[in-house]
Subunit: 115 residues, 4 copies
């Protein structure tokens, strides 16, 4: 994903509309959670099979909500100069430690050791 291009799109869109003044991270986090709920809304009355197989307009709708979430997420990263890729890689390492794997003898497999 070309982050520079996406950041530039987001930045231009907000600046042209003079919306930067609203984009305090407190507000952006609220807006992100609202978009996350708009994604949840698509699934709220579906069973698992229906959810796994969204089609047509419903899938397009989900795609748009996913994009909205991503835009606010990247906008927050822009505010704090957070490198999203680095943040993800670091967090996955923490998750590896938090949820360790065990070998067949029940010994913990250390992160980074070959598996």
């Amino acid at each position: 994903m070309d982050m520079k291009k996406i950041e530039s799109l987001i930045n231009k869109f907000s600046t042209q509309r003079d919306w930067e003044k609203f984009h305090n991270p407190k507000n952006l986090a609220m807006a992100l959670s609202v978009e996350a709920s708009e994604l949840v809304e698509i699934f709220q009355w579906l069973d698992f099979e229906q959810a796994a197989n969204l089609q047509g307009e419903k899938k397009e709708h989900a795609k748009q909500e996913i994009a909205d979430i991503a835009v606010y997420l990247i906008r927050i990263c822009m505010h704090y100069n957070i490198d999203l890729e680095e943040a993800i890689v670091e967090k996955m390492k923490l998750n590896e430690k938090k949820y360790p794997l065990f070998d067949e003898q029940g010994n913990k497999i250390e992160y980074g050791k070959k598996k």
Copy 2:
């Protein structure tokens, strides 16, 4: 952002723990919204200045929640074969149409025209 690398990390992490069975999009959307609220929680009692200037542990905490949100978002895209960059670019075009710009004479500036 190297999406193939991130997708590979996410896929490996889930597969090794046999967690794929839980990752129906309905559940993933719920988990995404829960992580979004964990980001909101950091800001809920802060004023705008405090929110704009997170430091130290609080900023690190926000970074981790942002990563968690991104991981679930990418995981949902993987399920539906959604290209996140394309989804963002398309949605930004829709947003341009939804919130048009006007020139100094009050005429709508069409999307794609030079500005």
Copy 3:
């Protein structure tokens, strides 16, 4: 439900801790949504049967999250002098109109008519 008693408990708790200054409705709405997500978190990896039959600690946990949601909801009503019972009754009437019933001949059954 004795609303006066509950409102008095909420009011006393906040006042004693000097927390009233944080309780702007913007913050309270954020806190309410965070508590709602803590309830969602209980259910996020459960199937429908597990969700329908919470037991023991999990049920107690859900009960506590439900109470937290109710407290913030009532706190917001207190701020705006909203009568929660009246708000619910009025909204149910709107819902009746939004989702009308039809009789066996396919005619809309008007709200308030006997059914």
Copy 4:
């Protein structure tokens, strides 16, 4: 608040539309969080003064979202036979212990002791 009356309204509304089949607590928790976000959405770009002084249509909108949240909350309580008033009172007691008060000498004031 006359809980029996409210429960009866909720029950009748769902039963008449044959929507009970959708009302698994997992789905209801999702729907509750979606309604909570619809309340958050009203506040997301407002400053604290604007948020504290909602008027007219915006206040009416907030009132309706509050009612929607309450309806799903009460619906979940109905599923698990949770007495909402009792749940709130019990949780407030836990909160008193979790956030103890201190007297002027810095000694913890025990819950239930006169203050």
